[in-house]
Each structure stands twice: as C-alpha cells, then as structure tokens.
C-alpha cells in the first residue's frame, strides 16, 4: 500500500510542477562533465523547431549539445530491446528450463528487460503529460558527494526488535575530461542496535518480556562497500552519422567490493560471526540517454564470494578460498523533473524519479511472485530532490525511496553535493 502511494505520488509529480526548458546543460554528479560551472545561470529559451532541432517526431536538439535525440525513436528502440530481453529471460526461464541448464543470468535479463520496457512506456507517458518540456534539466540530481541514509526500524511483533539502519556513503566525482568521469565510492552502513527474534513456541522467557515466546536469536549487521565507477561517453555518432538520433551512450565500469558481517547470538550461546566478502570485478554497463530527461542504465557481471565464519565465542574468522557467487545485475530508468526554473528564483529545485531492479539476494531482499521465490532481486522506487542556491557551488539532495521486496521497505537519504573535481570553474 505504501509503495503504491509512493509510486502514485511520484508519477503525479510532473503534473503539479511547471516544467522548464533549459537552454544550457550541466551534467549531474554521476555524469561526465561539461565546461560549465554549477553557479552559471543559463537562459531558459531554446528552439523547439527549425534547422537546429531534430527534423521529426518529438525533436529535442539542445543548443550547445553535440547530440540531437529523438525521444520517440530512442524510446521505441529501448522498448523493443527491453521487450526482447524480457521475452528472452522469460522464455529461458519458462521453456528452456533446468534440463537444458538455462542458468544463472535468466532472471537478471528478465528484470533488466522489464525496466527497459517499463521505462520506455512511462517515459512516453511522462512526455505526453509535459508537452513542450523536453529540454535537459540543469543541475539534475545524481549521486551526492556525501549522503546519510536512514532505514526505519521497528516491528509490531512483541519482544522482537528491528533497529533503525544508518549509512554513510561518499561518492566524489572527478571529471577526467569532457567525456570521461570517475566516481570513487566508499560506504559504511549498520544497524543501530541488535535485531531480536522470538521463536513462536511457548518457552522460558525473561522477566522483561511481554509475551510467552522466548527471544532466541539476536543479530547485528554491518556493511562496508568500496569501489569506483568510470563513465566514458562515446563519441556520437560512433559509427554512422546521426544514427536515428537515438541518444548518447556511455560505457560504464563499476568494480565493487562489499563486506557484510553478521554477528549472531543464538539464545544464550556464544556469539558467532559470519562474514561475506563479495567482489564484482567486471561489472560493466551502459547508460543510454534516451531523452534529454530520461536515461536507462544497466550493469551486469559476475560475483566472487569469500565466506568466512567464526566458532562460537571466538572472534577470529576461519577464512578460505574464493568461489563464484550468483550473477549480478542492476538496471535503472530515471526521469528528471524540474520543479522551479533556475534564474527566476533564488533557489533551483530539481527532482529525479528512479525505478530500478537489482539482481541480488543479499541483505535479505528479494521480489517474490507467487511460488517464484529466490529468482528475483528487489525493485526500487525512489525520488531525489536537489536544492541549490543560485550561484552556490554546493547543493543539498534529499531522497525518499522504497524497496519493493520481501525484507524491503522505505528509506530516506540526505546528501551534500560538492563541486566536481577537475571541472573548469569549480
């Protein structure tokens, strides 16, 4: 219900905000840089037609930009390729089957295809709802340089405990040149206390309990992540001249390392530690700028696992060899939603809707569909809001989101956006 409310609110957001048309462009924090400072105040007028615009469909040539994009054409291509991926994944899943070893990536392909197909449709609706507003959004939200994440805790089960989660992530952006950017990453998150679980069987309980069910397991989790994302914007046109104006493409490489440590205390027994290290060395992806305000991004790659554990009462981990984990993938469709025009007010406010699929079963989150349990990772809906004082080099970004998943739930983030390193004028 909450997720449906959030989705409805986010989809309706474009109708309550007046769209703007930005003449200039400033790539966001998670994109390669252009030569403009965040404090610049570009004009708000750009031609919708004429020779500088694309010659047909919903033309979106933006002055000062190399790429001219037909959102209709690019969304059609995204829809077709997303639908093909969805059909291939579903077909592999349903018809090829286990006897022919349909294998690990089937669900990832299905999920990524669904995001592409859905993004194409929602993007089309969004454009219809905001006619004439196809221009790129100045200072659109991206990954903040530093952000704090809070995930709500609490449980309605007596004598159980589910702590709030707190995380901090650092993602500075380094513009190596006009087409290449690097975004190192470091993050730490943890539960602000122990989880407590009861056994639903009457047993010996402590005097402070409210039910007759004993607390049998206490756990505490923490996660450390590190990595980087290299984005290279491909020349456009890459091979043929103006290939149907289907939007710019970036190649992305996002190697990551994740450490998850879970401390468990079963009943009155001694504490044990289970540690999982995951390395994603070849996490490759593409970002497709299907429209000036819409992007589709996906990554995929193998996961390498190290699983370690301690004996009860011992904090020393028994470590061993690496092994291949499950296939990893993620896909995002993003829509920029400008709330107030920069230059007409003292503050610019821009939003971004994110719809993503993460093909992973870590952190206890997955999307179950009937008996289909354990095949799909979570779906995420979130909305970013970037607020910047005009001419200010820094900005604030808030995010609210919901993980549509068993074990998922809402989260909020508060981010600080610093100037990109290496960019002129910052």
């Amino acid at each position: 219900m909450r997720a449906a409310l959030l989705l409805a609110a986010l989809l309706l957001a474009p109708t309550v905000a007046f769209a703007q048309e930005a003449a200039g462009d400033e790539p966001s924090a998670d994109e390669p840089s252009a030569d403009s400072a965040p404090g610049d105040v570009p004009g708000t007028v750009w031609p919708l037609d004429g020779r500088r615009a694309c010659p047909s469909l919903r033309a979106c040539c933006v002055p000062g930009e190399d790429e001219c994009t037909h959102p209709g054409m690019s969304r059609l291509m995204l829809g077709i390729s997303g639908g093909a991926a969805f059909a291939a994944g579903a077909g592999t899943f349903l018809w090829v089957g286990d006897s022919l070893h349909s294998g690990d990536p089937q669900s990832a392909v299905l999920g990524v295809g669904l995001i592409g197909l859905g993004g194409s449709l929602v993007g089309m609706i969004a454009d219809w709802m905001t006619p004439g507003s196809g221009g790129r959004v100045h200072d659109r939200p991206g990954r903040p340089t530093v952000r704090l994440t809070v995930s709500p805790g609490g449980t309605s089960t007596l004598d159980e405990a589910a702590p709030y989660g707190l995380g901090i992530r650092v993602d500075p952006t380094i513009a190596l040149n006009a087409r290449v950017s690097l975004q190192p990453h470091l993050g730490v998150s943890m539960g602000l206390g122990n989880s407590a679980h009861v056994a639903p069987v009457v047993g010996a309980v402590s005097s402070d309990q409210e039910s007759a069910f004993p607390v049998v397991l206490r756990t505490w989790k923490m996660k450390v992540t590190a990595g980087a994302e290299l984005a290279v914007r491909l020349p456009y046109p890459l091979a043929v001249k103006r290939p149907m104006y289907t939007g710019a493409v970036e190649v992305r490489w996002k190697p990551m390392w994740e450490l998850r440590r879970r401390t468990l205390q079963p009943g009155a027994a001694n504490v044990q530690i289970v540690e999982h290290n995951a390395l994603y060395p070849v996490n490759l992806g593409l970002r497709w700028h299907v429209a000036p305000r819409q992007r589709f991004t996906f990554y995929a790659g193998p996961r390498i696992d190290w699983l370690s554990f301690s004996d009860p009462g011992d904090i020393e981990l028994r470590r061993g060899k690496a092994t291949m984990g499950t296939f990893y993938g993620e896909a995002w469709w993003q829509l920029d939603i400008p709330f107030s025009p920069l230059g007409r007010r003292k503050t610019s406010v821009n939003g971004r809707l994110n719809v993503g699929y993460i093909h992973s079963h870590l952190d206890g989150q997955r999307l179950d569909v009937g008996a289909i349990v354990g095949y799909f990772g979570p779906v995420e809906l979130s909305f970013d809001l970037r607020i910047r004082k005009v001419n200010a080099p820094v900005a604030v970004q808030v995010t609210a989101g919901y993980r549509l998943a068993t074990g998922g739930g809402p989260f909020v983030e508060l981010g600080f956006v610093a100037p990109e390193l290496g960019r002129k004028g910052t």
Partner: protein, 421 residues
C-alpha cells in the same frame, strides 16, 4: 519560433511538503504490537515453526491428549515437533516425520476415555513398536507395510508408544524432490523403491528410508497435498518430508503442516544424522537459524547430512535463496560441523555441484529435483539419488526411473553424478 517558459512554481513548496509528509507516513510504525504469528501467515517460515509444533500434539473430543517426544525421552511434558497428529472419525492419525525411532506420549485425560485407535503411517515394516508406561512398555505384534492400526487401552494416565528399528552398519537412504507437475511419475518413483529395497537387501545395504525434499504440489492447496500424502501411504519405506516453495507460498491455513507435520527436524539414521530444514520461503526462520548449532551438531555420528528444498548454494543454477544471509549462516554451520553433504531439490535437474569453499572447509551438495516435476525443453530425467553409508564412507549415485515409453536408461556420469549400475 521560440518559446519561453518562465512560470515560477508556487507548487514547489507544496510539493516539498507533500514529499515530506509522504516520507513521514512511510516511516510510521504499522499496526498494534502483538505476539508472533497471531495473524496466521503460514507462508512465513517462522509461522510454520508454530504450526509444526501445533500439529505435533492433539487433544481428542474424548479428552485424550497425545504428543510426540524426543526418541528415548522419559519426560512426558516436553513436546517435540517430530510428527503429525490429526483427529479422524475413528481415532487419531499418527505420522512420525522420522525414518527410524519415534516416541509418542498418550495421556488418558479426565473425561473417562478408556481407549483410542491410532492410525499409524510412515512407520517402517521392520519397526518394533512397544506400548505402556515408561519403562514398562510391552512389544506389539509386528506389522506389514508402513501403516498400522493400534488399539490403545488407556490403562494408565500416561502411556508411551515407542517405535524402534535395528541399525545395520551399511545402509541406504534415497533422496529426491519436486513432484509437483507429474505425481503419476512420482508414483513410479515410489514403485521403484520396491526394487531398491530388494537390491539393498541382496547387497547387504538395506534401504532405510526416503527423504522427500519439497515441492510436492504445484500450488499449496489441500487437495494436491493430500493426494501426495495418500501416495506416501503406499511407500515401501518411511518418507521424511520437508516443504518447498510451491507447498507453502501464500498459505494462511498451514496446509503443509496439517498434512505432513514437521518441516524442520533432525533425526538419527543409525550412524548418520539427517537434518531437514524448511526452506520453503527461500530462507530459514530466525528461530530455526537460532537452532542451527543444535540441529547440525555432529555429536558422535559418523555422518552428517543436511537437506532442504533449496540448494544451500545455487552454483550456476539460478535457483538462489531469497535470503542469502540465512544461507550463509547455514553454510557456515554445515562447514563448522564438518557436514558430509547437503541434499536439495528445487532445481529440476540433478547435479553434484562443485563444492563450495566456506571458511577453511568445503561444503558438498547434491541436487536431485527429479521426482516428477517438469524439467523444461530437454529430455527429462526422473529418479532419485541413492546415498550409501558404510564404514568406508558415503557414496552416491543416481537411479533413473524411466517414464513410460522410454526403454534406454542412461549410464556413465552426468553433471557430476554417476548413474547407479
């Protein structure tokens, strides 16, 4: 032609306010505090723990109370979730979940009941049953097949019905999962156990039982699960069952536990400990995770085998757990207790997967999701995996049960498992 848009938004403030309100609403706690599983969500693994404890005890309309106890126990007050007790029109259906020994406590109650009929099933034909007050049980007449009726005269306030089997040094247990879409083929698998029993007896490797690893039904409706339960009444050896995702998803009536009893339990099978886990929700209940050190304690057993519907690790199958954190703890406890093997279904094929390094050890896994379910576009291979336990160690091979019309059985080795000669 150019167009200028310069409409400053008064809505921005309202939008921010709405977004803030939405975030606040999302973070509000939901519902009143109540005890665990009060709402009967038996699709949840934790609530099935409550259900399996519930169905391991019963009080009849004549006031007679029965419950399962740990084999060898003398404490009549402790209930062990090791079987199913279900009132019928003529007595009480008694289905021990275990392959070997079981103990049942019978209390006469205060309503004046003088007798009760127990309709036992899933009891080995070579099991010796005894009945009476603790320490003074009297051996009952031997039975044939895996079902028996026992008329109990309630001569004492507390009686014990105990089942015991002899343990050979070398023995077989067979494993398979995934019946769902072809219960007729599953009947053939059950029929083939007669040959397995005869072959085992001839080679000095008696077959002690069958571990059925979930996905008995395509959808968790009572009719389907009762049908499979009726098939198991014809099995030539006892069958230990644990549920799969198709048996429990979305269940609000605890149908699996009501038809089969326990989903998570450890049992002694002579020199081996066999621990089965309810992984039907793609994870493990937190209270089951809390019991992992106990359930997987190797103690003095020569062999330790864990099993469940889901593979402990998916390898390249794509059949992952919903909650990998739970599987990591399971794998850690399997490794720490030096388990010999994890057996699973879920993947509708069979495979002796590459051992998974876990800490400084490795966990071996055999998947055998071949008891009848559809396997995709390839040629289906039905059958079960035979595990042979002997002083020389644990060995495995795959017994193919051909569907009608196919005459040529496969030989050699495939996906890491050799076909039984």
């Amino acid at each position: 032609m150019t167009r200028t848009t310069d409409r400053p938004s008064r809505c921005t403030g309202w939008s921010l306010l709405a977004l803030g309100g939405l975030v606040s609403a999302l973070t509000l706690p939901s519902g009143c505090n109540t005890v665990a599983c009060a709402h009967g969500d038996f699709g949840s693994a934790e609530c099935r723990v409550a259900a399996e404890n519930h169905y391991a005890q019963v009080t009849t309309s004549s006031g007679v109370s029965l419950h399962f106890a740990e084999p060898g126990s003398d404490d009549a007050t402790v209930v062990a979730p090791l079987g199913l007790l279900e009132p019928t029109s003529t007595g009480v259906r008694v289905r021990p979940s275990t392959l070997m020994d079981f103990d049942l406590v019978i209390e006469a109650g205060t309503l004046g009941a003088t007798s009760i009929t127990l309709e036992l099933e899933n009891v080995a034909s070579d099991a010796v049953l005894s009945l009476g007050p603790s320490g003074a049980e009297v051996e009952l007449a031997p039975g044939m097949g895996t079902t028996r009726n026992v008329e109990v005269s309630l001569t004492d306030d507390v009686l014990w019905l105990r089942g015991r089997r002899d343990c050979p040094l070398t023995f077989r247990v067979v494993v398979a999962g995934d019946v769902q879409t072809n219960p007729v083929q599953f009947e053939r698998v059950l029929d083939s156990l007669h040959d397995e029993l005869a072959d085992g007896a001839a080679t000095g490797q008696p077959l002690l039982g069958f571990a059925l690893l979930g996905d008995l039904a395509e959808v968790p409706v009572e009719e389907e699960l009762r049908h499979v339960s009726s098939l198991l009444r014809n099995a030539v050896v006892p069958v230990s069952v644990t549920p799969g995702n198709h048996d429990v998803h979305g269940d609000v009536m605890a149908i699996y536990n009501r038809v089969f009893g326990a989903g998570t339990y450890a049992q002694a099978v002579c020199t081996a400990k066999l621990a089965l886990f309810d992984t039907g929700a793609g994870g493990l209940a937190a209270s089951v995770q809390a019991r992992l050190p106990e359930l997987l304690a190797r103690s003095s057993f020569d062999f330790l085998v864990g099993g469940g519907h889901y593979p402990a690790y998916p390898g390249r199958t794509g059949n992952s757990w919903g909650d990998e954190d739970a599987s990591f703890y399971l794998l850690s406890e399997l490794a720490r207790n030096e388990a010999d093997l994890w057996v699973a279904g879920h993947y509708h094929s069979w495979e002796d997967t590459v051992p998974k390094p876990v800490g400084d050890r490795e966990v071996r896994q055999i998947i055998s999701g071949t008891a009848g379910a559809s396997q995709g576009s390839g040629v289906p291979t039905f059958g079960y995996t035979r595990l042979t336990f002997s002083p020389a160690g644990l060995s495995s091979c795959f017994v193919e049960v051909l569907p009608p019309g196919r005459v040529e059985a496969q030989t050699g080795t495939a996906t890491g498992i050799r076909y039984c000669p």
